[in-house]
């Protein structure tokens, strides 16, 4: 049955490649998840499938045949801070989180689980795009992030499962995609969530009560360095030397650019105002940085904030308000296109009527003043889409 699923998936991939004509390179070995000039966010995971743009308003769907008894592609413990799926730098492997419930997945009607009850099992998977095979890369682990060298850091749980109302604590480990043994990067157990690699430095949070996030950096043999207390990462600079953070616990914009190697504050900006004088407010984590431009989602409005960022200052380029009425839950995770001319975001749309169902929507905006195009990749799907992070 598994072999049959894999074979079917392989056929689907080949069919998709033939239809699109650009999914494989000339060697027929690498899935090209984007073409030059197309948005970097060309693919995302939704409902155990990879969706890929073929135009700003059209997507294709390729199912991922998960290894047996793997649950679903999801990261309930780390989706708020870490990529759920990430493509290896050579674009041959998709690394993602899975979540398997013991028993039936809970419904809205179910009572909350008792404290201490064993609820689910998380794992990190590696899906080989060429062969269409999936394998468990790290069991009982969450929050994988891939480096430019192809190393995958993750949080290895002290316990392999998630227990209700108890923090999923563990150590930070790192393992090459081609090796079988991980090494320990941070040995002290804590409630870690990984942000991403910045060159040789791994950025991660320690999460504490009240969902407070403290940002740290570490490297092999380098020890842990506190970069910012109570701060969420908006984006890592393209040269991987600095990180832009939003101080949390505030409704105002309070941005800081921090040098990753030294931990020094390079520049800071607070209470950023739009040209009309209105304050932009706090920004969401998980933005993007290209050249000297940063995009991030607004917290108090459904829209995208464009910033100019350098070591000497942080300035506002513009604000693109997409409308609270259309996107009442806001938009999130904006990503620049390869050439920086467009930005792709995603949103969950709540039902407009009692008989309506929520769905995920992907939005492409080509310029601050230009109208945006949107597409519904999977009508009727309740959950959010997980954009596939690219390692560059």
């Amino acid at each position: 049955m598994v072999k049959r699923s894999i074979a079917l998936a392989s056929v689907l991939v080949v069919m998709l490649a033939a239809a699109c004509g650009r999914l494989y390179d000339s060697n027929q070995r690498t899935l090209g998840w984007r073409a030059p000039g197309e948005p970097r966010l060309m693919s995302f995971v939704l409902d155990n499938a990879v969706f890929q743009f073929t135009s700003p308003t059209a997507v294709t769907r390729t199912a991922i045949p998960l290894a047996r008894n793997s649950g679903s592609i999801a990261a309930p413990l780390s989706a708020g801070t870490s990529p759920v799926a990430q493509l290896s730098p050579d674009e041959t492997t998709l690394v993602f989180s899975t979540w398997r419930y013991f028993g039936n997945p809970p419904t809205a009607e179910d009572p909350p689980p008792s404290t201490g009850m064993r609820v689910a099992h998380p794992a990190v998977h590696a899906f080989d795009l060429a062969s269409g095979t999936d394998r468990v890369f790290a069991d009982g682990a969450i929050s994988p992030v891939v480096s430019t060298a192809g190393d995958v850091a993750f949080v290895k749980g002290d316990m392999p499962d998630y227990y209700a109302n108890q923090p999923f604590t563990g150590t930070i480990q790192v393992q090459s995609l081609t090796s079988v043994e991980p090494s320990t990067l941070v040995s002290a157990s804590d409630n870690y969530r990984l942000v991403g690699w910045a060159g040789d430095n791994l950025l991660y949070y320690v999460q504490s009560e009240g969902e407070v996030l403290d940002l740290y950096a570490t490297s092999v043999g380098g020890g842990a360095r506190l970069l910012a207390e109570g701060a969420g990462v908006i984006a890592i600079s393209p040269d991987r030397t600095s990180v832009l953070v939003q101080r949390v616990g505030t409704t105002e914009s309070d941005l800081a650019l921090i040098d990753i190697a030294s931990g020094q504050l390079l520049t800071r900006a607070a209470n950023i105002a739009a040209p009309d004088g209105s304050e932009v407010g706090a920004l969401q984590m998980r933005g993007d940085w290209l050249g000297d431009r940063v995009v991030a989602s607004g917290v108090t409005f459904a829209g995208i904030v464009y910033l100019q960022v350098s070591d000497s200052g942080i300035g506002l380029e513009g604000v693109q308000d997409l409308g609270d009425a259309k996107y009442p839950m806001g938009v999130e995770a904006p990503r620049f296109s390869e050439d920086g001319t467009s930005v792709v975001s995603q949103a969950v749309i709540p039902p407009q009527t009692a008989s309506d169902t929520p769905h995920a929507e992907v939005i492409t905006c080509s310029g601050i003043e230009s109208p945006c195009a949107s597409v519904v990749p999977e009508p009727g799907f309740v959950g959010a889409a997980y954009s596939i992070g690219h390692v560059e």
Binding site: G80, G230, T251, S278, G281, A282, P328
Partner: protein, 204 residues
Amino acid sequence: MLKVTRGQGSRAVFIVLGLLLLSTSTTTALAAGRNYQYYNGDVCYERMLQDCLSQSGAMNYGTLFQNIYGSATKWRGGSGNGSHDRCAINQGPIPKGTTSIVSHYDNKSSGDIRGRAWKLGDMRCMEDDPYSTLRTQLFLHTEETSDQGQTCGSPYDERWCWDGPSDYYSLGCVKVSHSDVATIDTKWHNGTVNSPTLAVDPWN
């Protein structure tokens, strides 16, 4: 840093919460609610609550509780920093639904949360999606010292002083006023709270 400051142009996200005092059937009814509200001309989506309040004119913070809920089993609470995304940890409001109360403190003396506090059970950010992000490590609390007092006096917003409505903002925890937390705590200890759950009921 649980203390939040209020910026011009930002909008509060208010929820009304109830420590369930009543029967199991009440618990079930509240838990069965969906994540999303919908527009029908009379009902405001929770994101628009502040706008709705503005449009109603006479309503203010005090009458919100009295006029709309008026029930001794519910209190006004705030959650989140103004974000409308319940899946945004560290920013968004606590998800709608019912969660367990894991533990209670009368004199919590470590961390940013002090005094009377209730540790809440983990909640999926979308009730209907079992794979949605879990909100964890959230509390119900106010701003007070470990001995349930207030350290006010500074012209600036203080971490352990209830300064006013702007203190309803949080990173995701449910915050209630210093006077309300006293009422809740009294009921808790009097045993009138016989179901250790918390219902988050943003706007119905």
